[in-house]
Amino acid sequence: MKLPSIAGTISFKLSTLYLLLFLCSFLSIGITIYLLTYHTLEQQLKNSIETEAARLKTEYDSGGIAELKDEIDEVEEHGLHALFEYGVIDQNNRLLAGSLNTFQPSEGWQTVMRTPVADKPGKELLYIRVMALPNNVWLSVAHEGEYIQNAGEAIIQAFIWGFVLVILFGAGGGLYLSRAFLRKIDSITNSTHAIIAGDLKQRLPVSKKRDELDNLALLLNQMLDKIGELIENIQQVSNDIAHDLRTPVSHLKFRLEDTLTRNLSADQYKERIAFAIEEVDTILSTFSAMLRISQIESGTRRSGFKTVNLSDIVVSVIDALQPVAEEQGKIIHTNIEPDVTLTGDKELLTQMAFNLLDNAILHTHKNTQIVVSLLSPGNQTELTIADNGPGIAEAYRQRVFQRFYRLEQSRATPGNGLGLSIVAAIADLHDGTIALSDNDPGLNPYLTHTINSHLKTICCVIKNLRVALHFEK
């Protein structure tokens, strides 16, 4: 796999986009500020020129051209309003007062570019207000406006520098972010390579920052955990097959080889062949039980879940096994709440109930009392199979659900060690929990007719082994 170049990374693309957007807004802010400043300064200047022009007009109105000339001369002489320049002309363009003559005789505003005067450097732009006075006299009041230009230029310059800095910081930041992002991707890629190479214990790195990438890595790690579990399961199954199916297959081979070397009568051969077929059937049934477990564990049956009447299922199972129990001298007591329903697979729930009760009958002594109860307190559904048989030592309780596991005490009884594994798989498929517990051996194992009154009574009465299954509704 090839890592993408920095320019190709999502974070780089994103930061470039952000940078462009930021520059655009920066530019529009700059233009706005420039225009506003320019306009405001120009307006201020024009206002002050206008006021001065209006003042001079009143001088003219009251005392004619002589008064106006005196005022202008006085101002220019005393330098009181040295910022302004004045010019008064008649209709023949003759300068009557002041010094300014570079304007057109027309009412309004004029701007004039002027060659800079030696003692006033940079004084180039002149704002001139030209005012028509009575008797064809034109008054002009001017003020240099170069500083407005300068202020505008300063603003533009500031923004150009800002622009450069933003680009530098933005690009640098984007680069840094992309690097950090790439480093993370890099480490994830490395871990993935290690996993592909076979190191299934390897997990993706997760930093303390808990960003989106970390969350993704956490999720992927969970997936890897699940995959690991499944692989372990598969390995377990393969090991189970190797260990537990090899033995009966090799036994069969020995017997067949032995049969081949002997001279037997046709009937004896038939008998041996029949026996071999029986053995093969046992092996095949073990295979199909294992396949069934894997199918159940795969969870595909969930799609066919319907509301099933668990009470009917349990009753039918008890009904099927009652004669078997009686034949073996065991007594089944029942406490079945009618019409307890569950969302599930009827076929599998039947098998689950059957295997549990069958197990209780198979692995107990004569005269054992077995109690099957089905109750639904609140939103729970509880199926309990309790007996006063030998029980299972605490150390072995979880192991009985493992494939092929058989207790030392029950090796002599027929079975393939998969019955309870199927129960566990079915319970798990229905989100049920299994609990194996003692039935409080300290209490008097005395059964009375109150058996159907309450579950607690039953659990106290029957001792030694109690298998309870809980299902949340």
């Binding site: 029949a274 059937d281 095949l284 049934s285 295979f287 199909s288 039980a289 396949l291 069934r292 199918q295 595909t300 049956r301 066919g304 039918s316 009904d319 099927a320 096994l321 004669p323 078997v324 034949e327 076929e347 039947t350 098998q351 059957f354 069958d358 009958i361 198979l362 027929p414 079975g415 393939n416 019955g419």
Partner: protein, 236 residues
């Protein structure tokens, strides 16, 4: 292997659609020996053609077939109005195949690998099955009388008290009188158990039922066919 004699049946024409040569030969040899005429097809299309042309009494269809799978084949035949009984063969790893097969229109299913006795019993049950179900209220065989409405059983006039399960078990055997009924067929049809219980519940129930039926009678009604199942003979 126990070959069940089928003297009670006429020769039937059976079509086997199965791609595995060994299974096909095994099944057709056994059925030929039982006196049936066998047609066979190696793939789905050939099977479909033969099924549409020939006038078969029964089809045996494998679930996994090249070109056209068994499920589609059964659906196609059924939608074309073909109502020949179909026995569906499924592999043991597909626990959903049974429901799918029956939904597609198959009449019965059998999980591979199977004993020939099991196949033979199911074939006979399907061949004997009345095409149209007639409402029968009383079943009679060899001096046994079952009133299905009143749920009353008499043998040679004598009332026999049966539990509901025992009644259902006897009813199934009587309805299939003259045919071998296997343990699996009983588990599926009487108890609705579609798994393999290690405990011999069928044997136990049969022996109880037998005890009740035989009390006060010299002749045995339910016979065990070794390696195959049980049978109630039609004639005493």
């Amino acid at each position: 292997m126990v070959i069940i004699t089928l003297h009670a049946f006429d020769t039937m024409k059976i079509l086997i659609i199965e791609d595995d040569n060994e299974t096909r030969d095994y099944v057709s040899a056994g059925l030929k020996e039982a006196g049936h005429t066998i047609d066979s097809a190696k793939d789905g299309y050939e099977g479909l053609l033969l099924a549409k042309e020939g006038n078969h009494d029964l089809l045996i269809v494998d679930r996994m077939l090249p070109d056209l799978d068994g499920l589609t084949l059964v659906k196609t035949l059924r939608s074309a109005g073909c109502n020949v009984p179909i026995l569906f063969l499924t592999s043991m790893c597909g626990i959903d195949d049974r429901v799918e097969g029956l939904n597609a229109g198959a009449d019965d299913y059998l999980v591979k690998p199977f004993a020939f006795s099991e196949l033979s019993a199911r074939v006979n049950a399907l061949l004997r099955r009345p095409r149209e179900t007639v409402d029968v209220k009383v079943l009679q065989v060899s001096g046994l009388e079952m009133d299905l409405l009143k749920r009353v059983v008499r043998r040679n006039g004598q009332l026999i008290d049966l539990q509901p399960t025992e009644f259902r078990l006897l009813e199934y055997l009587v309805r299939h009188a003259g045919q071998v009924v296997t343990r699996t067929m009983l588990l599926e049809n009487v108890w609705d158990f579609h798994f393999d219980p290690k405990t011999n519940i069928v044997e136990t129930h049969i022996s109880r039922l037998r005890g009740k039926l035989n009390a006060g009678n010299k002749t045995n009604l339910i016979h065990t066919v070794r390696g195959a199942g049980y049978i109630i003979h039609e004639a005493a």
